[in-house]
């Protein structure tokens, strides 16, 4: 079996060491200068992290293969440094049965570029009315542990309560898209504030998120179950989370890269590339989210990667689809905003983008430490490389990339999934790896 030696990497950004990978597993770690290997990756100056894990992506297959497929989404994930992605259930048909979940699992395995983990719908058809077959999805080969109606809020308190209770025996978690539909209906598309007032766009007030999160943390306390808050966008939600965690409530939360950087004022020209749900918030919220990520109130970064066919973004702002790409740029955004500024170090990045999301999602074999015996899911990052994002260069099938033209410091160099290089910018070796 092939032996690959990764030499000179700073492990989690700290001490320099070599990693010997054999049979898809990290065989040795240390000073391995004289070790024989079939391949050699010179990682001098690079940071080695456990492969990144994204708890929240939309891969669009089945149903919208013109926007993304499991294959193109897997490729985008690999180039973003991800070795596992959780594929949301709002496909067509919806992932609300064991069979549908296994189909996605198998398709992901066939692609072999990243681990594709299906998220199961909480309610049948995402209709919010009756529970989907949560237990059968959990018992299936896909071993579904994360359940979400993402795209829709589970707004019925009784359904939410029952779902939280029901998933306890198999250690599941409900990932909630927090949006009270009475306070922010389907037309709501701009943070409610001065910009929405001036632009005449239907407001999406922060309270529509905060009130659901407040309710859900109380339901989590009441049921003793786990709730995860998807794409936290407001400072008020951060306050609720901080309180809930202080009470010992089993709540976790994610923030997207875009909510860590992009702000409401970008909507001024009505460019639908900036239309996303929940909406981009003002700078005060952005700062609160960065602080919450730094102090652990927000557990992880998840992309909410949401590819859309070009024509679905070429409607009026009101009619255009919600969502933006994120897989290929997330690490650079976090590096630029959180690491280069000194608010997080690389060990923190390993936590918020790998080990913690893997743990929340109940995924073994991912997010493990860079130690002998761990699966060889490794992301090498060049912390000093500056990139300028080019939407056209994406491996995603879609181009709704709000980061186009932005320059960021820190970029993925090489991704290794189960001992095989799934992505590298090292063009000298790209052909060799792509076998």
């Amino acid at each position: 079996m092939t032996r690959t030696l990764i030499s000179g990497a700073r492990l989690l950004g700290d001490a320099t060491g070599d990693l010997l990978v054999q049979d898809g597993v990290i065989a040795e770690v240390g000073s391995l200068g004289g070790t024989a290997a079939d391949r050699h990756i010179d990682a001098d100056g690079l940071v080695a992290l456990p492969g990144l894990v994204d708890l929240h992506v939309h891969l669009r297959e089945p149903g919208r293969e013109d926007a993304e497929t499991i294959a193109t989404g897997s490729a985008a994930a690999a180039s973003g440094g991800y070795t596992a992605v959780f594929a949301m259930a709002n496909t067509s048909p919806v992932t609300d049965t064991a069979e549908a979940a296994e189909w996605i699992l198998d398709l992901g395995r066939a692609c072999g570029l990243t681990e594709v983990v299906p998220v199961g719908a909480v309610t049948s058809g995402l209709a919010g009315e009756r529970l989907a077959e949560l237990g059968l999805m959990a018992r299936s080969r896909a071993k579904v542990r994360v359940f979400s109606d993402d795209g829709h809020c589970i707004h019925d308190a009784r359904i939410m309560r029952r779902a939280l209770e029901y998933i306890r025996p198999f250690g599941g978690v409900i990932s909630q898209h927090a949006q009270d539909p009475r306070l922010a209906d389907a037309s709501a598309c701009c943070h409610e504030g001065e910009v929405s007032g001036r632009l005449g766009l239907p407001g999406w007030p922060s309270i529509a998120e905060e009130s659901i999160v407040a309710r859900d943390v109380m339901l989590a306390r009441h049921t003793g179950s786990r709730v995860h808050v998807a794409h936290v966008s407001s400072a008020g939600t951060v306050e609720v989370l901080r309180w809930a965690k202080a009470q010992g409530i089993a709540v976790t939360a994610e923030v997207t890269p875009h909510h860590l950087v992009l702000t409401t004022d970008l909507l001024a020209e009505y460019d639908p590339v900036y239309k996303v749900n929940p909406p981009l918030r003002p700078a005060e919220d952005v700062e609160a989210l960065r602080a919450a990520l730094a102090d652990g109130t927000i557990d992880i970064v998840a992309t909410d990667h949401a590819p859309h066919a070009r024509h679905d973004k070429e409607h009026s702002f009101l009619d255009a689809a919600f969502g933006m790409l994120g897989l290929e740029t997330a690490l650079s955004v976090v590096s630029d905003v959180m690491v280069a500024s000194g608010r997080l170090d690389w060990a923190d990045v390993a936590r918020i983008m790998s080990s913690r999301p893997a743990r929340i999602g109940g995924l073994t074999g991912q997010g493990a430490s860079l130690a002998p015996g761990s699966p060889a899911n490794i992301t090498l990052v060049d912390p000093d490389r500056t990139i300028t994002v080019d939407a056209a260069a994406s491996r995603s099938r879609s181009r709704n990339n709000p980061w186009h033209g932005r320059t960021m410091r820190g970029a993925v160099h090489t991704t290794m999934y189960r001992g095989r290089v799934s992505h590298t910018i090292d063009t000298d070796h790209a052909t060799e790896y792509a076998q």
């Binding site: 409610e192 929405s196 001036r198 632009l199 005449g200 460019d271 409607h315 009026s316 702002f317």
Partner: protein, 326 residues
Amino acid sequence: MSRHLISSADLSRTDIEGILATAESMHDLQRRDVKKVPTLRGRTIVNFFFEDSTRTRSSFEIAGKWLSADTINLSAKGSSTSKGESLRDTAMTVSAMAVDALVIRHGASGACRQVSQWVRCSVINAGDGMHEHPTQALLDAYTLRTRIGELDGKHVVIVGDLTHSRVFRSNVITLAALGARVTVVAPPTLMPSGIDAWSETDGFETSWDLDTVLAGGDPVDAVMMLRVQRERMSGGYFPTAREYTVGYGLTRDRLDRLVARNADVLVLHPGPMNRGLEIAADAADAPQSVVLEQVSAGVAVRMAVLYHLLAGEDAGSTRPAAPGAA
């Protein structure tokens, strides 16, 4: 002046005054027997209305015809989303017919801004969702100036459903540019979000209490009543029509109080009016009411806008190459 008119903020005070001066000469034309001038002969204007409109569309259509342009009306209510065609495809299709100007009414805020970034012709916003309606603001300014002269220091009060009103959003910009003092009045539920910060930046005042404003320091020179849609009641914006009228309607009594302080006060309404709701019938028909003058000014102002965009000194950029046979 830009080749588009998307927002009232696209126009400087000089631009506005230029358009209003042109509108005056256009208005003179309307009093002749033969109203047509050859200014835009050979030019094509498409009135593309994605949303119903009677007065704005006919006003633009007449304006184009009196300038001798070929005007075509397209109605596409609901078609873009129901047929699945994107706004961009629809706009590019029409633009491909070598039109000179697209006059667009759309139910979605920002649609005109988006279209202007895709097409090569001039785009004129004839009302986009809850965003703006710049020619309405121009015709309101024209009507006011015809009656009360320069607007510097004049006090204009705008009352009604500000949240959903594109007329309000354009008027505060144009009136402020012309030096008017503007106060906007609505119940808190019909105040646009963030208006406290916004009004401070843009230099207008807000109030929840119409009677206090009417009795306040400066006498009111004009009051502009905005249409209030009855369906807003089901959205919880206000309890009943009766309660709205008591709080915010231009009743006979309120008009009498206005006239007592300023005999020359004007009453404006962009139409269509809900008589008995935001405006009492005898206020709508009072001598102070200039509602029909607004309509009449609409044609002259739209002629002036078309003239400035398509035939003015700096309008060359949109002029297509002359055909060889010409």
